[in-house]
Symmetry: C2
């Protein structure tokens, strides 16, 4: 089985993770960002520029970003919900933006109160404006493998939504398994259909472990040669649709598995586990990461 | 990717699960067994016949088994630690026995205070006696992918230990990932080496999710054509080596993933989730099953 020799991980704990937890102080956010910046990870989703009244967790995005250490060899990105957010992000110095649209019409309406078509229209404007300012935009298609309201989302629908963004100039693309509805067979089906249509397009995959399939989906994707994944330190970020349920896959679990399979991530596993322990202290609840609990497989106990 | 069209699952919650939790009343054990017997699962590891002073969780094995409903189309098995336990199991009516030996010398000594060679000697006697009474014996090699004391266990060592049992007449074999040290690459390596040497031998795999790789390991094994797995309802059974850590993979998580991939388990997923909810009530702690928390992917919420 030929797997990629190395993969590129984007750490999304500071943004996606913390946005789906109870609010934490600015100091703690800066400390987490800085802690992650010395783990060897080379991409971090740092903040989002959203309406403070709608998402208080990210109300201090400018302040967090201003105070973060910003390692020169790390690519930091910001999520932007609209043109206004994109302007804020670029004014703050970000050159990598992320914009989200749901594959599911119902999910998009529940999330941003507009149709996917309307969201894609604004994303086209964001892309045009970003390119004028030498910034890039990744378009993330959420509910790519299923919607908590609609159920299954047809592969054709997800490919069609991302296709519109590619036509509009998206610099890169991502599929998000927003509520953990993907299984390995569905990963193969969607990635296969996407590649058949867009063989040259880079693809990031963002899995959730809501139903336990997170790392199995990563394995299926690795076997297809996918080499770009999101993960969240400690598994930070619950699932907003199922109380008590898990959201993002944990970065240290992903690193632990794939490094043991000979796939290089560039990440220092022990440093990432330490960062996960910090994240757990910051958030004040037990995070779902198994590797944080049990330690890596190399950690033996005295006989 | 050709996967088996169907797999055979052995539910190990009543024995392996409950043996690694705080003791529960006899009534609850009988109720759990009976509940599991109507989920569609066709094999259940029911009890173990161990020393009551050493393992109080299984002190009432005879009583539990006497009172259980015992569905005629289900194969129930009992774990036996020695000859004495094997006699008790067969006297109680069991015709399927399981005997365990560690691939790791240190783990075997810590577990049963003897060498693997001594354990294998007694297993040979158990097999001989079982065959005289028309019973079968599965030999389970624990710490097959690694030992919490020794670390890595070489593939050759695990194959050599199981090989001795096969030579002695083991009716079937199983590899146990006792502390969740397997990753997909290691699954491929061990299953490959085993099959190269014993191409005709049936093989059961018993994964733990201690480091989050449980279902990824199942996927890797399915891709190799393995069609015989253990799992525990709700993920019952913690990891005795890492406080708070997870042990067995959850039956409903395994069923949920593979059924969505077109692999038939014969199990009614909703019935198994209900059984997991019962198991959680019985044990009085939150079980690690994600599918128990979030529900199956088919369970949508009102928009």
């Amino acid at each position: 089985m030929d797997l990629p020799q190395k993969i590129s991980l984007r750490e999304v704990g500071p943004r996606d993770g913390l946005q789906n937890e109870d609010p934490v102080p600015t100091d703690a956010k800066v400390a987490l960002l800085d802690r992650l910046s010395v783990t060897g990870v080379k991409r971090i989703e740092a903040v989002s520029f959203v309406r403070p009244d709608a998402i208080p967790q990210m109300a201090d995005a400018d302040e967090v970003w201003k105070r973060a250490a910003k390692a020169p060899d790390i690519r930091y990105s910001a999520l932007v919900p609209n043109l206004r957010g994109a302007i804020r992000a670029m004014d703050a110095g970000f050159t990598e933006l992320e914009a989200v649209v749901s594959a599911s019409e119902t999910h998009n309406r529940k999330n941003v109160n507009r149709s996917t078509g309307q969201s894609l229209d604004e994303i086209a404007e964001i892309i045009a404006m970003a390119h004028e300012r030498d910034a890039t935009v990744q378009v993330i298609v959420s509910t790519a493998w299923g919607c908590p309201y609609e159920g299954d989302v047809p592969v054709e629908r997800t490919v069609s939504v991302v296709g519109r963004a590619i036509t509009d100039g998206a610099d890169s693309t991502s599929f998000g398994d927003t509520t953990g509805m993907a299984t390995p067979a569905r990963v193969r089906a969607l990635v296969g259909a996407f590649r058949a249509k867009y063989p040259e397009q880079n693809l990031n995959l963002h899995f959730h472990n809501t139903r336990g399939t997170g790392l199995a989906n990563v394995l299926a994707a690795l076997e297809l040669g996918v080499s770009d994944f999101d993960a969240s330190v400690g598994g930070l970020g619950g699932c907003p649709y199922a109380p008590g349920a898990t959201g993002n896959i944990a970065t240290e679990e992903l690193v632990h598995m794939v490094e043991d399979m000979g796939v290089d991530t560039g990440i220092d596993l022990e440093a990432m586990i330490d960062a996960a322990a910090d994240a757990e202290r910051i958030i004040g609840r037990t995070l779902p990461s198994q590797v944080l609990r049990a330690g890596p497989r190399t950690r033996t106990i005295p006989a």
